[in-house]
């Protein structure tokens, strides 16, 4: 029947089909109405607020009574540039983001290569790697707080069994960040692995086979045949994990509260602290704008790269 109708439409010529499409299902007269529920939500809670935050950042904003807010121009940004808290948070963010992005890219690719073959064992392992990503951050962070517990935690117990020095982990300014990074990698690697597995599935099997026939070792096969074909996937993973890491909050709040001292206060966490603990809303908004610009640049870079690839 559907075939009939195409044939009829064709037989009747373009004018008829145009006439019908004016009243038909593709007619865009009501398109805006169909788009409006989603657009309303985006406008009120995403697009509008994204502009609003810029506005707030020029004020000494009074959260309790907005009418008492005072325009300070670039004052919050000037304060930001002179704030050692801010610069510390930038250094901390670079540490955290660099380690989690580097770690999840390298380990994600490694684990994906390890799991790309078929088999029951690998299917079960894949599930194990994937599970943390879909389980809540609060709950799993609490488990790792216990694992990193000084003295009684699993890791310090094992260190003790091996007669190695115990570490205060989350209570140590040196080791809190590595602990946080280990947790974050554990939680998020599953996502990276899925993307790399999807990428690996598109890698030409013939080329790999050819390399093998030529007597290439496994490492050469990976380096010379697989990796070049995974360039786009790798870039995508780097950008996505950077954007996510810059926004990390829940594990920092649960595991360290930004401390000890400010050893784990990333810029994202500083934003929360300044705005919702110290109620320095305008200052927090300025931090938000800076974060926004950085993240938007990363997203644009990703769109650019993907367009070049397409």
């Amino acid at each position: 029947m559907s075939l009939d109708s195409t044939l009829t439409a064709r037989a009747l010529g373009i004018s008829r089909s145009r006439a019908r499409s004016r009243a038909g299902i593709r007619n865009g007269r009501l398109a805006f109405l169909y788009l409006s529920p989603a657009l309303l939500v985006f406008l009120v809670f995403t697009i509008g607020p994204a502009l609003f935050v810029l506005y707030i950042s020029f004020f000494n904003w009074n959260l309790l009574n907005p009418s008492l807010s005072r325009f300070v121009g670039g004052g919050n940004y000037a304060a930001l540039l002179h704030s050692s808290d801010f610069w510390n948070s930038i250094v901390t963010s670079v540490y955290f983001v660099g380690a989690t992005v580097g770690g999840s890219t390298v380990l994600g690719l490694g684990i994906a290569l390890l799991l790309s073959q078929r088999g029951l064992v690998r299917r079960i392992v894949r599930l194990a790697v994937l599970t943390p990503y879909f389980t809540p951050l609060v709950a799993t962070s609490i488990v790792w707080v216990w694992i990193f517990n000084p003295q009684f935690g699993l890791i310090d117990s094992v260190l003790k069994l091996l007669h190695l020095p115990e570490v205060g982990w989350l209570q140590s300014t040196t080791w809190a960040m590595p602990a946080l990074i280990v947790y974050t990698l554990w939680h998020d690697l599953g996502f990276t692995v899925i993307i790399f597995l999807a990428g690996l599935a598109t890698v030409s099997g013939e080329l790999r086979e050819a390399a093998r026939v030529d007597g290439a070792s496994y490492w050469h096969e990976v380096r010379d045949v697989v990796l070049p074909q995974l360039m786009n996937t790798t870039l995508f993973v780097i950008v996505i994990t950077t954007i996510d890491s810059l926004q990390a909050f829940t594990q920092i709040y649960t595991m360290t509260g930004g401390g000890p001292l400010s050893a784990t206060t990333t810029t994202g966490f500083l934003l929360y602290q300044q705005s919702f603990v110290f109620y320095k809303t305008g200052f927090g908004a300025a931090i938000a704008v800076v974060l926004f610009v950085v993240i938007a640049l990363f997203t644009l870079a990703q769109l650019r790269l993907s367009r070049r690839a397409a």
């Binding site: 109708s5 195409t6 439409a9 038909g24 299902i25 007619n27 865009g28 007269r29 398109a31 788009l35 529920p37 989603a38 657009l39 939500v41 985006f42 009120v44 809670f45 995403t46 607020p49 994204a50 609003f52 935050v53 959260l63 390890l114 799991l115 690998r122 079960i124 392992v125 790697v129 599970t131 943390p132 389980t135 809540p136 951050l137 609060v138 709950a139 790792w144 216990w146 694992i147 699993l154 117990s157 003790k160 554990w186 690697l189 899925i194 993307i195 496994y218 996937t233 810059l246 926004q247 909050f249 649960t254 929360y272 908004a285 938000a288 974060l291 993240i295 997203t299 367009r307 690839a309």
Partner: protein, 283 residues
């Protein structure tokens, strides 16, 4: 079989064995924290703090009853299901309508509208906390269910997926429906939406799990346990019972189990959805 071929085969087998072993090790590392929290939840406080550590679960089921009575978990669970369920319903409706407009309808500005919606992905959630707090305050929605549902009621991911799906509907199908005199809404309701069921399930699962696992947003936007979801409840419980590791572990287990079951039952679909979307977004 020549000697050389035999040794090549042997090498290949041993490599496969070694990589299998390594894979198994990776699996153990990732699964161990889950095992460990169950072990801790079933041991007494005394045995949890002993050295060398006890790697086997005991039978101290009482930790669960104890932790269960320490907080209003039932309320937290009901709140979470209500919030996640309503968010899913809302997202499905808004995505169906917008995806249909962008995938099927022909109108001026269609590409621009789609591009604008995609560009919303550029706006990071953490940036929205302050302005949305103020917006919700003005709406008198702070500390309500609304604050946790409506702002999440539209999803770029959902619109994207359905636009792709509707855009690929065979033209014959649409023409046939036109011949039958179906209206747009009729076509969407009775033909397009039922066909899109797999996509709708994927979207629903992602939104449900995301909503269930969310913490920062409800933590900032609510303050009363009567409207708060499970993860905020668990965080509060952690704040007040921070050293009772068996009880805390029990709470972690019973609050996480429901969403883990959802994940286990739907993991194939979730993986397929992630691969498809990221593949499409990579271009």
């Amino acid at each position: 079989m020549t000697n050389r071929a035999g040794s090549a085969l042997w090498r290949k087998r041993s490599r496969r064995f070694r990589s299998g072993l390594l894979a198994l090790l990776v699996g153990v590392v990732f699964a161990f924290p889950f095992y460990w929290v169950v072990v801790t939840s079933l041991n007494s406080s005394n045995s949890v703090f002993q050295f060398p550590p006890n790697f086997l679960p005991g039978g101290v089921v009482g930790n669960y009853g104890h932790a269960w009575h320490e907080a209003s978990w039932v309320r937290y669970f009901l709140n979470t299901v209500l919030i996640a369920g309503s968010t899913v319903a809302l997202v499905l409706v808004t995505s169906l309508l917008a995806g249909f407009a962008l995938g099927v309808m022909r109108f001026r500005g269609r590409e621009i509208a789609f591009f604008l919606i995609l560009s919303i992905l550029m706006i990071p959630k953490v940036v929205l906390l302050i302005p949305d707090y103020i917006v919700l305050k003005e709406l008198h929605w702070l500390d309500t269910y609304w604050a946790q549902i409506i702002p999440w009621g539209a999803s770029v991911f959902g619109i994207f997926l359905l636009r792709q799906f509707f855009g690929a509907l065979p033209p014959e199908l649409i023409e046939a429906a036109e011949l039958d005199g179906a209206s747009q809404l009729q076509f969407l309701r009775t033909i397009a939406a039922p066909l899109a069921r797999p996509a709708l399930i994927t979207i629903g699962l992602y939104i449900f799990i995301g909503s269930w696992n969310s913490f920062l947003w409800p933590f900032i936007m609510t303050s009363s346990p009567s409207v708060q979801p499970i993860e905020v409840g668990l965080s509060t419980f952690f704040g007040t019972n921070g050293t009772d590791w068996p009880g805390l572990s029990a709470a972690v287990v019973f609050t996480t189990l429901p969403i883990m079951i959802v994940f286990m039952l739907s993991q194939r679909r979730l993986v397929a959805g992630a691969s498809a979307t990221t593949g499409a977004m990579k271009g």
